[in-house]
């Protein structure tokens, strides 16, 4: 299998899907500059640079999606989505329902986020939960190049607007090459590691922190199951519940602010639907309620690290219910 980065995987998915379907187009601030191989293959109309204006990029994607094209737009960094919220939330997310089903919005929005480049809170802000909370939108965030490729292919083929978040910290780390044409279905989690004592649920870069934690826990005799959500909406409640039914213990981990994050949703669903199986409190590890600092040590400290995951899992496994 070839080795490629998540950045390459996105390029590969775009290439394959643009070959497969002439309705797929891509535009954004610099996408034609950065992905000139796409321009070379598909032409300057299907792969375009745009003015620096996220609102009209997203709005144009919404209009185009409703009328026959399948746009992929690169909005660069997640905080810039703030300029495109109306288009994504009020238009793409709602106009299908509000029109009685007259329109569909097959569009994909790419945005990077997360620690790794020390660029501060206006580039690094994990806002995926906003879109999980908003109706009519799907949300994915892969943790590997293979998943990135497969999920992007699925997202492009999906008839709904998909927010595709890219963890900056993973962008240039090489990984296993995905199989050509393999599609990773939206809404399906992956069991990254099997285990029986505690379930660690995560997505994005903290999946790797969970894996590392699981290894450390194994050395202590604690068997941790690691679930990589991959899709945040729809999210794979069945896989998570099945795991918690087995382990009785849950730690949810993500880089985004804990408050009303995806972890809150998972904890709440488990507290409702798998209550009887729980042997210990549900623990969430997430970013603090603070913007992310640019300074390297603070940026790193923002992200739940393996040690904290190990400590939380250990606490749960040692605890006896009163």
């Amino acid at each position: 299998m070839p080795t490629l980065t998540l950045y390459d995987a996105i390029g590969a998915a775009l290439t394959e899907e643009m070959r497969r379907d002439r309705h797929v187009i891509a535009f954004g601030e610099g996408i034609a500059t950065k992905r000139h191989d796409l321009v070379a293959e598909f032409g300057a109309l299907r792969v375009r640079n745009t003015p620096l204006a996220e609102g009209i990029i997203a709005g144009t994607a919404v209009g185009a999606a409703a009328s026959g094209l399948r746009p992929v737009v690169d909005l660069l960094f997640a905080p810039f989505l703030c300029y495109a919220m109306d288009e994504l939330v009020n238009s793409a997310g709602k106009l299908r329902y509000m029109s009685g089903g007259q329109f569909a919005f097959p569009l994909v929005t790419l945005a990077m986020t997360g620690a790794g480049w020390g660029v501060g809170a206006q580039h690094n802000h994990n806002v995926e939960a906003w879109f999980v909370h908003s109706p009519g939108l799907k949300v994915v965030m892969p943790s590997s190049p293979a998943d990135a490729k497969g999920l992007l292919k699925a997202a492009i083929r999906d008839d709904n607007p998909v927010l595709f978040f890219i963890d900056i910290g993973l962008l240039y780390q090489p990984g296993d090459g995905p199989v050509a044409d393999e599609v990773v279905p939206l809404g399906k989690a992956a069991i990254a590691r099997e285990g029986s004592d505690v379930t660690l649920v995560s997505y994005g870069k903290t999946v790797h922190h969970c894996r590392q934690a699981a290894e450390a826990l194994a050395a202590e005799g604690i068997s941790a199951e690691v679930i990589d959500l991959r899709s945040l909406k729809p999210w794979d409640a069945a896989t998570v519940l099945a795991s918690v039914e087995k382990t009785g213990r849950l730690v949810v981990v993500h880089e985004a602010n804990r408050l009303c994050g995806v972890g809150a949703e998972i904890a709440a669903v488990v507290a409702e639907e798998a209550f009887a199986c729980l042997k210990a409190p549900i623990v969430r590890l997430g970013g603090p309620d603070a913007p992310v600092a640019s300074s390297y040590p603070l940026e790193q400290a923002f992200v739940p690290q393996p040690e904290a995951i190990v400590a939380a899992a250990r606490r749960l496994c040692r605890r006896q219910i009163a």
């Binding site: 609102g55 919404v62 209009g63 409703a66 288009e87 089903g101 109706p135 999906d158």
Partner: protein
């Protein structure tokens, strides 16, 4: 070569008058129902009928329309069924959007009225994408994007016009400058008198027309639409008009300058059109009465249709959210 007369004097305004009367009667029925508590309030376009009718009649069947919260004129001039519209306003299942839209965001895809949004400025943000599809998928129609003077103050106006000019998108921007942005007069909101002044700075040809003269609007819109069709580039037409009722029913308009309103009421587009037709001899009083009767009959039937339509069932709550 223009297929239609672009000279207002050559236009047969009789069908336009009938459309305007239909719009007026439809909105008056809503106002009456809203006063009586039987129909939800709406944003009426009373006083602006010529602006809608003139432009919509300049469009072809292939052309697409984006509109907003104040859309009755665009929809009816395009041929929408007043019964299905009223059903929509009343939240009934036979409405064009199954009752989910209500009055503020009615789209009728089968008539080419797409992606209506009540977010002021959203029509501007979506129009380039619709126009892009037209071009890339080889469809002939142009895109008419209706918006208000208020929408022109949103950032999406700037972003949209810049992109349309840059990408050569076939968009006929139609700004209905009705002097009001809800409860704020355009003077309190715009550094300029005319939205057309803003268009020019993108290199987009622009023109302001008397929006209360239906023949003048139609003529100007034909010129504009032909130019968009021929050049595949945007054009901005500003219809200078006035919202003579309130922003949203009910509205006592206590904040409106009575003199300004009176001056515009004296320029009512329907009265002007009818008086001119009568004066020209193009219409006689009994023909005028017949039009009035036809319109009344249609609105009556529309009300009956809408009232007979039931509310959506509870399982509609989450249907059509995802494709």
């Amino acid at each position: 070569m223009t297929p239609h007369p672009a000279n207002p004097h050559e236009i047969d305004a009789r069908p336009l008058l009938e459309q305007m009367l239909l719009i007026r009667a439809y909105e008056e029925a809503i106002v009456a129902g809203s006063d009586a508590g039987t129909i939800p309030g709406t944003c009426t376009s009373v006083g602006q009928e010529a602006a809608a009718v003139g432009v919509v009649n300049a469009l072809g069947a292939d052309d697409l329309i984006l509109t907003n919260h104040r859309s009755a004129g665009h929809l009816l001039a395009r041929g929408a069924d007043p019964g299905r519209l009223l059903a929509e306003v009343m939240g009934r299942r036979d409405g064009y959007c199954k009752g989910r839209s209500g009055s503020l965001h009615i789209s009728v895809k089968e008539l080419g009225v797409v992606l209506t949004s009540t977010i002021v400025g959203a029509e501007l943000s979506m129009a380039p994408g619709v126009a892009l599809s037209q071009g890339m998928l080889g469809r002939p129609g142009i895109v008419a994007c209706f918006f208000g003077d208020g929408a022109a103050c949103e950032g999406s106006f700037h972003e949209s016009l810049n992109l349309a000019a840059l990408w050569n998108l076939p968009i006929l921007y139609v700004c209905e400058n009705n002097h009001w942005q809800a409860f704020v007069h355009r003077r309190e909101a715009m550094s300029r008198e005319h939205v057309s002044e803003w268009a020019s700075s993108y290199g987009i040809p622009a023109h302001t027309v008397d929006g209360n003269d239906v023949a003048a609007v139609l003529a100007a819109a034909r010129v504009a639409a032909e130019q968009v069709r021929a050049s595949r580039r945007p054009y901005l037409l500003e219809t200078w008009t006035y919202r003579t009722r309130g922003h949203f029913e009910p509205d006592d308009q206590s904040y409106v300058d009575p003199a300004e309103r009176a001056a515009w009421l004296a320029r009512d587009p329907i009265a002007r059109c009818r008086d001119r037709l009568l004066a020209d001899g193009a219409l006689n009083p009994s023909q005028a009465a017949a039009i009035g009767d036809r319109v009344a009959t249609r609105i009556h039937a529309a009300r009956a249709f809408a009232e007979a339509s039931s509310y959506p069932a509870a399982d509609e709550l989450t249907r059509d959210v995802y494709a």
